[in-house]
């Protein structure tokens, strides 16, 4: 039995188990039947194992170049290195959906074993919803539209090899799985929300149960988006990282609604407000992940990402419509039970800032959606082909982003219910001074564009408020528990991770904002055609072309330009290349990047003399601050981990007499 047969059989068995599990979970939730629940659990666990077996079979088939499988023949070649063979599981549609299904099966198993222990009825209903979604995806990958194990009648001697762009950089191992994890895990809060609506629970139990899932999926999406920007920067050779491409928009939209949700959820927890709103946000986030998959996989929007067209477009659209009808129907049916506990407070209260923040996030999501779908609508109505380029998104989203940055500084400083004048003065004196200094810093470093100056000012404002919060927290622990410095700080993180981890995330967002503002405002370009020995100068760097040489590897042939970089204290060698893969008609540019905290030197081999290698055209870009973007992504990830870690259980600790005396003061 070959790996392909094993994988195909495992998926079919998993489909059967998933169908069984759906029925068993529905019955268990309806009749509170422990035996049905036990059998649903087994179905979830074994089903997950089977899908993992299928995914591993595919990886094995790719690693062993089994070209009798269509997917392997299309996305692998004998010369493909082992690492890229294995990650080719997500190089194309069918394999990606297999990975997606495996993650969904894992989440289903997790709810089956862990969730149903804490709150049996709600979690069992949510389990049924998860099983239903899993069944859909298993049906999808066992039909010809997206069957990863489809066979070729005659196995070719060699395969096509992966898409040239996907085997040119190791970041491909990281970016898609992170995004898929983020996408798929949004289905957990969705399943609980739907379960809560089905059962007609008025309370917030679903929300408390899925808080961590929502946070983790949000963080994975965010870090996945930054990793995608990094991949685009390091591979595509255009010196940028974000182009408002439909595929990028598809990823950012659920992240925006999910960010709104993570904040408005706190209003529901503290004040029991915004109940319907939070349910709607969870549904919207999940629906946007499916919409994004539909948009990018069905070929309806024109994107620079070349994903393959397939028959799954209409199926995904049907799935999306079904989810929306079900969710909106349930929300309307149960709306009477979703009364808020009271009105929202004063305009200068924390809940009011959360409300504004939500309005802005919604505005951002809807305007991105509008810009992404407008070409489709326009073509359907008038037949004209048009595109909505970067300027639309920049002009609309940059003001919204600046307003959000402002609220990010204000919100955490305001108390619930409302603030007095004295509070305002105490909270905002230092941050306003910091904002002024930030604006001055921008102007001094030569960043003069208005949006960039505002970003610096607001960034400094936010950093000051966060520092103020940390300072107060550390001092409070000092007075209450006699802890000092780092010990106090680490205890803040451990005992109140959600709040202080959240502040760390805010710092990461500021880094990202500063990186975008700086790199957009102060990038410099230059291009020269050089003979070996010649050099060009850009922004204080001297770039000398040493040699132009061909390099042959089994899977590809390259022309490499060896560059020596001096100036600005740098002394390094960069090797931009043009890489020719056998399955690709055009050579792929592979930029040489000298990354630094101050700026990146980005070099591209644009053209070369093909006969005698006597000259090469080198395009260069000096991009200040762009590496803060990746750092910001990492800080966001760290903050999210701090926020997601469970707080240690509170124990009754017998305090020494001296400490009691201190804390009694």
């Amino acid at each position: 039995m070959s790996a392909g047969d094993l994988g195909a059989a495992a998926l079919r068995a998993a489909l059967f188990l998933s169908l069984w599990g759906t029925g068993a979970a529905v019955y268990a939730a309806w009749r509170r039947d422990a035996r049905a629940l036990a059998s649903a659990r087994i179905a979830a666990g074994v089903g997950f194992g089977l899908v993992v077996v299928a995914a591993l079979s595919m990886m094995f088939a790719l690693a062993t170049h089994d070209f009798s499988i269509l997917y392997v023949a299309e996305n692998n070649a004998r010369e493909t290195p082992l690492f890229y063979s294995i990650i080719s599981l997500w190089a194309a549609l069918e394999g990606s959906i297999l990975l997606w299904t495996a993650i969904l099966a894992g989440a289903t198993a997790f709810i089956a074993f862990r969730g149903t222990v804490a709150i049996p009825r709600l979690a069992t209903t949510a389990l049924a919803v998860m099983f239903a979604m899993l069944t859909f995806f298993l049906l999808l990958i066992t039909t010809p539209a997206a069957d990863p194990f489809a066979r070729l009648a005659v196995a070719p001697d060699n395969g096509n090899g992966p898409n040239a762009l996907l085997q040119n950089h190791p970041l491909m191992a990281l970016h898609p799985p992170l995004l898929y994890l983020g996408y798929v895990l949004t289905s957990v809060p969705f399943a609980y929300a739907i379960a809560s609506l089905i059962l007609g629970e008025g309370g917030d139990r679903w929300l408390v149960a899925t808080r961590r899932f929502a946070l983790i999926s949000w963080a994975l999406l965010g870090v996945g988006i930054v990793a995608g920007a990094w991949w685009s920067y390091a591979v595509l050779g255009w010196g940028g990282y974000w182009a408002w491409d439909p595929v990028e928009n598809a990823a950012i939209m659920p992240w925006l609604t999910s960010t709104a949700y993570l904040h408005s959820v706190m209003v529901e927890e503290k004040r029991s407000l915004l109940r319907t709103w939070n349910l709607a946000l969870v549904v919207a986030t999940f629906a946007l992940t499916i919409l994004g998959t539909f948009l990018t996989r069905s070929g309806v929007v024109n994107s620079v990402h070349s994903f393959s067209l397939s028959a799954i477009g209409p199926i995904l659209l049907g799935y999306l419509v079904a989810i929306l009808i079900l969710s909106v129907g349930l929300l309307l049916w149960r709306s009477a039970r979703l009364r808020d506990a009271g009105p929202i407070g004063a305009p200068l209260s924390r809940e009011a800032i959360f409300l504004f923040q939500n309005v802005l996030f919604m505005a951002a999501t809807l305007t991105v959606l509008l810009g992404t779908l407008y070409p489709l609508v326009a073509e359907a109505i008038s037949g004209a082909q048009l595109s909505i380029g970067g300027p639309y998104f920049d002009r609309v989203e940059i003001p919204v982003a600046l307003a959000l940055l402002f609220l990010m500084g204000i919100g955490p400083q305001l108390p619930w219910h409302g603030a007095s004048r004295a509070t305002l003065e105490r909270q905002f004196t230092a941050p306003i001074v910091a904002a002024t200094l930030g604006a001055v810093a921008a102007l001094v470093t030569g960043t003069t564009a208005l949006a960039a100056v505002l970003t610096y000012a607001l960034g400094a404002f936010v950093v000051a408020t966060v520092m103020q919060e940390f300072g107060r927290g550390v001092r409070a622990r000092g007075t209450l528990h006699g802890e000092a410095g780092l010990a106090a700080l680490s205890n803040l993180f451990r005992r109140n991770g959600r709040r202080y981890g959240g502040y760390v995330v805010h710092l990461g967002i500021v880094l990202v904002a500063l990186a975008v503002a700086t790199s957009q405002a102060r990038t410099v370009d230059a291009e020269r055609t050089l003979a070996p020995g010649d050099s060009l100068e850009i922004a204080g760097y001297t770039i000398r072309l040493d040699t132009i040489r061909p390099v042959s590897e089994p899977q590809r042939d390259s022309i490499v330009a060896d560059l020596s970089i001096t100036g600005n204290g740098a002394s390094e060698h960069l090797r931009p290349a043009l890489v020719q893969y056998p399955n690709s008609t055009a050579a792929v540019g592979s930029p040489g990047i000298g990354a630094g905290l101050r700026d990146d030197l980005y070099t591209i081999l644009a053209a070369y003399d093909q006969r005698t290698l006597s000259w090469a055209t080198i395009r260069t870009r000096v991009i200040p601050g762009v590496s803060w973007l990746w750092l910001g992504g990492a800080v966001i990830g760290i903050g999210a981990i701090i926020a997601a870690l469970p707080a240690p259980r509170r124990r009754a600790v017998r305090m020494p007499v001296a400490e009691v005396a201190v804390s009694a003061k």
């Binding site: 620079v304 409300l355 370009d525």
Partner: protein, 145 residues
Amino acid sequence: MLERIGARRVLLIAALGVAVLVGTVAATNLQTQAVYYLTPSEAKAQGVAVGQAIRLGGLVKMGSMSSADLRGGNDFRFVITDGSVDVQIVATGAIPGLLREGAGAVVEGAFVAEGSFHATQVIAKHDEVYTAPTAGATPAHRTAP
């Protein structure tokens, strides 16, 4: 109580104001920033005005890429063709490393004169099965997988 309701109204009006403001900005920008996608033949037939932002799609004409004789220059020249009409492109800013003679490309910018186009953005079509538009046909970007 009255004060409470007043505060609520202030909030609602402010939130609505934000929504209307963003909506207006989005709608006007959508009108002005929509960039039509044309082939050189279509652009010629429609008589696109000088200065109007459009996207032009076609093939980079063989032998038309200029970088070899452009020592010291900062702009980049090539010709985009659909087989019957040629347009001279002068591009500034980043040029993708994937841009090749004979391969598909999309440029965004505006005509500076008849047959001469200033591109602010160059996009190389990097999918393998991209079929460039044939003479006089509509752009084939929909067939891009």
